[in-house]
């Protein structure tokens, strides 16, 4: 069995933003499920952890929420990406890719390259 990794602080917010960007308006459960599926169940994240993250994003204006009907026909809170959130997502994914590229270069660098 593969080892599960802890979620880096702030990564969850980025995942939630990306999920909303790809799938459109979604409730908290939907976002949690999607994150689990994409990560291949490698993340040990309690689904509840997501809610404080969503709240923070909403307070910052990156996402907005309203009541809607859920799959079992009850009230659920649906989150959607705002324009500002889309901008934030673009900026952060650029950052993230840059960081990943740099770290990747460090891992592939051979001893000879450094001489």
């Amino acid at each position: 069995m593969k080892e599960k990794t802890d979620v880096l602080q702030g990564t969850l917010a980025l995942m939630a933003l990306k999920t909303l960007d790809v799938l459109g308006p979604l409730h908290g459960y939907g976002i949690a499920r999607r994150i689990e599926q994409i990560s291949g169940d490698l993340l040990t994240v309690n689904q509840g952890t997501l809610y404080p993250v969503l709240l923070k994003l909403e307070q910052e204006g990156a996402i907005a929420s309203e009541w809607g009907a859920s799959e079992n026909n009850r009230r659920a809170r649906y989150y959607r990406l705002t324009r500002e959130g889309r901008k934030q997502l673009q900026a952060e994914s650029r950052n993230w890719e840059q960081t990943a590229a740099i770290i990747g270069r460090f891992f592939t660098a051979k001893a000879e390259d450094l001489r």
Partner: protein, 152 residues
């Protein structure tokens, strides 16, 4: 910066309508658990086990509620309000103590204020004139001083 300001304002508003908000996320958490339970039922678990697994997966609900509450409002403001309320109710329960305290504070503040007013007027405040130079007799105009006879 702007998002931080917005977040502060939102939290301030949330502090004011705390009860409504608690209702909101209680419902939200409940709905989440129901959806997960339904999913577990579809996966073939017994109803009791499905619910149990859903709760386990969600994690420590009370902990998240606490975290949520802290993030939603301004914790320090809420604590301040609570403390004030507590203090007032305690004071109301001990009227003798309250009256004594209020009276001694009032007397103390009153006495200090009046003594300072006196000192301020006598020693500290400057005279309402442009120049505070002492004018020796005979210098300058004496026209402004009635009752004095012009020499010569």
């Amino acid at each position: 910066m702007r998002s931080r300001l917005r977040r502060f304002l939102k939290r301030l508003a949330a502090t004011a309508m705390r009860r409504q908000n608690e209702e909101r996320w209680r419902e939200e958490f409940e709905e989440h658990l129901d959806l997960q339970t339904a999913e577990n039922l579809r996966a073939g678990l017994s109803p009791v086990e499905a619910r149990r697994q859903a709760i386990l997966k969600f994690g420590a609900v009370e902990g998240f509620k606490e975290e949520y509450r802290e993030q939603q409002g301004l914790a320090f403001l809420e604590t301040l309000l609570q403390d004030t309320r507590h203090a007032l109710s305690r004071l109301r329960k001990a009227p003798a103590f309250t009256i004594t305290t209020v009276l001694s504070l009032a007397l103390g503040i009153g006495a200090t204020t009046s003594i300072f007013t006196l000192i301020h007027a006598v020693l500290l405040k400057s005279l309402p004139v442009a120049s505070q130079r002492v004018v020796p007799p005979g210098e300058g105009s004496t026209l402004l001083l009635p009752g004095r006879v012009q020499p010569g």
